[in-house]
């Protein structure tokens, strides 16, 4: 087998080995540094003299002399002062390690498809912890609860909340809440209660574990963890409904967990819980959840309102969003409200308004930053889990641990089945057995449980270490066993996968139409149903809220139009990228043609027909070419050099241009024909045909034949045509600069157009469509669509 591998792809296997070795070497190197530095830093191990400490102490020592005689030493040309930068250095090292690991896994081809990333990361953490321990050092307590809850968790939740698909979430909110609240309660009490019962059994020597600690343990361990769910579900591409069910549950059960945790922790000291406490607990739950949401919503509205005024300071726009969200989280945590729900509410509330206000680049920045932070956080969390496992301390008790694991599984299954039975009575689209299985199986535990356990007071809970061991075992079990097997099971059971759906405009229009229809029917029936309230909310939104929170004139733009623009541009970009299919109108160009889109086909040039309609038709075609080239260029340039892309003053010019609605519409109309006609070029038709035939991606010579058409210098930095186009143009235009370094420059159109410009209406939505479609993962397309 190995021989064959070698024969087939000697370079491949070698590079595999190389990469593996490289990773290992890096790992060891990093760990080595961390070890020595970590050891030097900890004050307990001051006995150890390390090189780092040595110099430091040496220098310090010379100043300590009471008889301060100035002993002349050689001026230290090079000195090592680790202590100075220790903390940031270690943090950076961990982050670097996490990122390198992530990189490494995706380089190794088959590993990432068999084993989910989270498992690999935990293993890496174990290795790191193991190495540190082997070296005899004390493993640093990395998964400190403060660090976890304040630094590592928020980015992940914010990312989840910001990109939460609102529509499926709201449609299934009843089900999600049932699972989150009732399900978690059931799990907590079932596990806690039965554990207590088991502990009371004679042979286990566990009778000192009382009821309340057991219940506390149950509540800690019963919460489905959003980080783990995200990590695993992301890779299995399950259908939207199941994804949102499990994921929504993991987010919303935070409130329940918080309340139960504090309740049991408070009263573990007292030793008993009265019915009054239960009532208080329920009230507390309502306050925690609703309060969290309210805090989040307030901050979200603040962020939206702030973003209304940022049109002159685009650079710090993303900062506002992050800071407001983080403050929402911290404020909620301050009052012991549910921080997770606050963050979700903030992100979800903020999003539609902020997106309408901020510039395209800020939008991209926000998106990428969120994804980056959440990715790093997630990686770190799993690695730290591994390290913390090695760190211990552990108190292994076979009975306790195994009973925990079994009970968690059993209670989850019973809970899901029972709840689904009840829920299905109220759902229109019922949950099938397969769905139930996936929901039950997807209930993964993660680092939140561990951190909560870590927070427990050692004195109040003498069996804390045993709890921690059990929690870790449960986490490992769910992440490794369930995480690894869920993918093959999904395939085996033929669960519906996520449809890589491109929303068509038909769907969009018809869905809106049906919404209106159903609202109307509900009104006729006199029934205040789902659609009625949704419609009311939308009207309220449109009438009052949007006016306050969205800058300029943009609030009037209907969603359908925005969606339509986006689609058109995307398709144009795709078309142009895929080979610039030449389409010629089969009918008169001023009318809309009904041709289907077939990007790769080159129909026979019918340039003769295009020529007669020279004045009007050609003008349209020219604009079309301009537009398509503009997008193509933006598309290409974007990847290398943002700075030479349209600089801000030109961006405004571009906006002015765009905003000229007249122009826009004509262009769009032609856009839908997907025609790029060579006939616009004043060369002879034969020449253009030849040119295009030889290189469909070739630049187009653009000649404006009339006023009102801006000149565009196109620097097609494409692999096929490395030459840049020399600009053209001009009949009565201001001299266009011949700055070829500046990839794309727009001369705003002449005075006639300027007069009609709509001040301040930047229409960033369109801008967004034009460039940077963003990461290829089109999950983001499923935007919340407030009709």
């Amino acid at each position: 087998m190995s021989v064959r591998v070698v024969l087939h792809s000697p370079s491949g296997s070698r590079s595999f080995l190389e990469r593996g070795l490289l990773l290992l070497v890096m790992l060891i190197f990093l760990e080595g540094t961390v070890l020595t530095l970590g050891a030097a830093s900890s004050p307990d191990i001051s006995a150890q003299d390390n090189t780092g400490g040595h110099d430091h102490r040496g220098i310090a020592g010379s100043h300590d002399h009471t008889n301060y005689t100035y002993t002349k030493k050689a001026f230290p040309v090079l000195s090592l002062d680790y202590h100075h930068i220790q903390v940031p250095f270690e943090i950076s090292l961990w982050v670097l390690l996490a990122s390198l690991m992530k990189l490494g896994f995706h380089l190794i081809p088959r590993l990432s498809s068999i084993v989910p990333e989270s498992c690999l990361l935990i293993v890496v953490g174990l290795l790191v912890g193991g190495l540190i321990k082997l070296a005899g050092e004390e493993v640093p307590p990395v998964l400190d609860s403060n660090l976890f809850f304040l630094c590592l968790l928020p980015p992940i939740i914010l990312d989840a909340g910001y990109f939460l698909p609102i529509r499926p979430f709201m449609e299934n909110i009843g089900t999600i809440l049932m699972f989150a609240v009732v399900g978690t309660l059931w799990n907590a009490f079932f596990v806690g209660g039965l554990l207590y019962a088991v502990c009371q059994i004679e042979g286990t020597y566990l009778s000192q574990v009382e009821l309340l600690p057991c219940l506390l343990f149950g509540s800690i361990i019963s919460a489905v963890d959003p980080v783990a769910v995200l990590a695993v579900f992301e890779e299995i591409h399950i259908n939207e409904l199941l994804h949102i069910l499990v994921f929504g549950e993991s987010l919303l059960n935070d409130a329940v967990t918080v309340v139960l945790y504090h309740l049991f922790e408070e009263y573990s000291g007292a030793g008993e819980v009265t019915p009054m406490d239960v009532v208080l607990g329920v009230i507390c739950f309502l306050i925690v959840s609703l309060g969290g949401i309210a805090v989040g919503a307030i901050y979200g509205i603040l962020a939206a309102f702030t973003s209304r005024f940022t049109s002159h300071t685009r650079v710090i726009e993303p900062l506002f969003m992050f800071v407001y969200s983080y403050m929402a989280y911290l404020s909620a945590e301050m009052f012991h409200l549910s921080g997770i729900m606050a963050l979700i509410a903030c992100g979800a509330v903020m999003r539609p308004y902020v997106e309408a206000n901020i510039s395209h680049k800020s939008h991209t920045t926000v998106k990428y930053f969120l994804k980056m932070w959440s990715s790093v956080s997630e990686t770190l969390i799993f690695i730290f889990l591994g390290v913390a496992t090695v760190a211990g301390p552990h108190a292994w008790n076979w009975t306790f641990v195994s009973v925990t694991v079994i009970l968690c599984l059993v209670s989850r299954v019973i809970g899901v089945v029972g709840l689904t039975f009840i829920i299905n009575k109220f759902r229109i689209v019922k949950l099938t057995t397969k769905d139930q299985f996936i929901v039950a199986y997807g209930g993964l535990r993660g680092a939140i449980a561990f951190s909560l356990g870590y927070l427990l007071d050692k004195d109040l809970f003498p069996m804390r270490t045993m709890f921690l061991t059990a929690i870790i075992t449960e986490i490992f079990f769910t992440v490794f066993v369930q995480g690894m097997t869920i993918k093959p099971l999904v395939d085996l059971l033929a669960v519906k996968k996520k449809q890589e759906a491109k929303r068509s405009i038909n769907e969009e229009i018809h869905t809106q139409f049906l919404d209106h229809l159903l609202t109307g029917i509900e009104d006729i029936c006199g029934h205040y149903g789902h659609h009625h309230w949704k419609d009311k909310l939308n009207r309220f939104n449109k009438k009052y809220i949007k006016k306050c929170l969205i800058a300029g004139e943009r609030y009037k733009e209907p969603q359908l139009i925005a969606f339509y623009h986006k689609m058109e541009f995307k398709q144009a970009i795709e078309l142009v990228e895929s080979g610039g299919g030449v389409k010629l109108p089969s009918a008169v160009p001023s009318q809309v043609s009904m041709q289907n889109i077939q990007p790769k086909k080159l129909p026979p040039p019918v340039a003769e027909r295009a020529l007669p309609q020279f004045t009007k038709g050609r003008e349209e075609e020219i604009r079309k070419i301009l537009r398509s080239n503009l997008q193509k260029t933006r598309q290409r340039l974007r990847s290398y050099n943002r700075h030479t892309l349209v600089a801000d003053p030109f961006e405004d010019g571009w906006n002015d241009f765009l905003l000229k609605k007249q122009r826009l519409i004509e262009l769009e109309k032609k856009m839908s024909n997907y025609l790029t006609v060579p006939g616009a070029i004043p060369d002879s038709p034969t020449m253009c045909r030849a040119r295009l035939a030889s290189d469909p991606n070739a630049f187009y010579n653009i000649k404006a034949s009339s006023d009102g058409v801006p000149t565009i210098q196109v620097d097609l930095a494409s692999p096929q045509s490395p030459d840049s186009v020399n600009m053209l143009n001009e009949e009565g235009r201001e001299g266009a600069d011949r700055d070829e370094d500046q990839g794309l420059m727009m001369k705003p159109a002449g005075k006639g157009e300027k007069g009609e410009e709509e001040g301040g209406n930047k229409n960033p939505g369109l801008m967004r469509c034009l460039s940077d479609p963003g990461p290829s993962n089109e999950d983001e397309e499923d935007e919340p669509f407030l009709p």
Binding site: Y564, E668, S672
Partner: protein, 194 residues
């Protein structure tokens, strides 16, 4: 129960109605009460003005189309039976119904729902949604917030996407195909009519 029975007895052919539409007696009664509330002049029939009196319906962009759907062509009034029959389209589908090819398609199946929606688009009842009809719908939904050219390009785009046999109009089959990913049963059902 007594009041239900007495109300039911007021309605002629109620058994047939229930079987045809699948509504339970409780539903029929509820709908009858609503019918009577709308029928201000107690004629036993509803006229377009009665529908128009529903305030919220007036705000609905396609309100007049919906009202129009209740009235069969040529008829000026709607009696209770037609009222219920139309509303029966919006019942959630019964999953457990055996597929009996000899029986006519139940009125709340996916196809029937789609057909109802299709008829709302297709006002001239020629079996196709022409470009003009689509433009009308778009115009009413977008409520004068966009220019005519934009509307036209959207309409063109829509037809282009859906039109498979290139007749510049959307037939029922094409309509159905374009909505195949949408869960019609979910989208076009009113829960309380179960």
């Amino acid at each position: 129960m007594g009041s239900t029975n007495s109300t039911l007895s007021k309605i002629p052919n109620v058994e047939e109605l229930m079987q045809e539409t699948g509504f339970t007696p409780a539903h029929i009664v509820r709908l009858y009460d609503r019918f009577e509330a709308l029928d201000k002049e107690k004629t036993g029939h509803l006229r377009p003005q009665d529908f128009g009196a529903i305030n919220r319906l007036a705000m609905n962009p396609i309100g007049d189309r919906i009202i129009g759907a209740f009235f069969s062509p040529g008829q000026e009034t709607v009696d209770f039976h037609s009222f219920v029959r139309i509303l029966a389209h919006f019942r959630p589908a019964d999953k457990k119904r055996p597929k009996d090819p000899s029986m006519p398609e139940p009125v709340n199946s996916r196809t029937s729902k789609l057909k109802f929606a299709f008829q709302l688009y297709d006002q001239d009842k020629d079996g196709k949604i022409s470009r003009a009809e689509l433009l009308q719908v778009l115009r009413s939904m977008l409520e004068m917030q966009v220019t005519e050219e934009q509307l036209e390009s959207i309409a063109d785009r829509t037809i282009q996407e859906a039109d498979l046999d290139k007749d510049d109009a959307i037939s029922f089959e094409e309509f159905r195909k374009s909505l195949e990913k949408v869960n019609i049963d979910h989208k076009m059902s009113i829960r309380f009519l179960r």
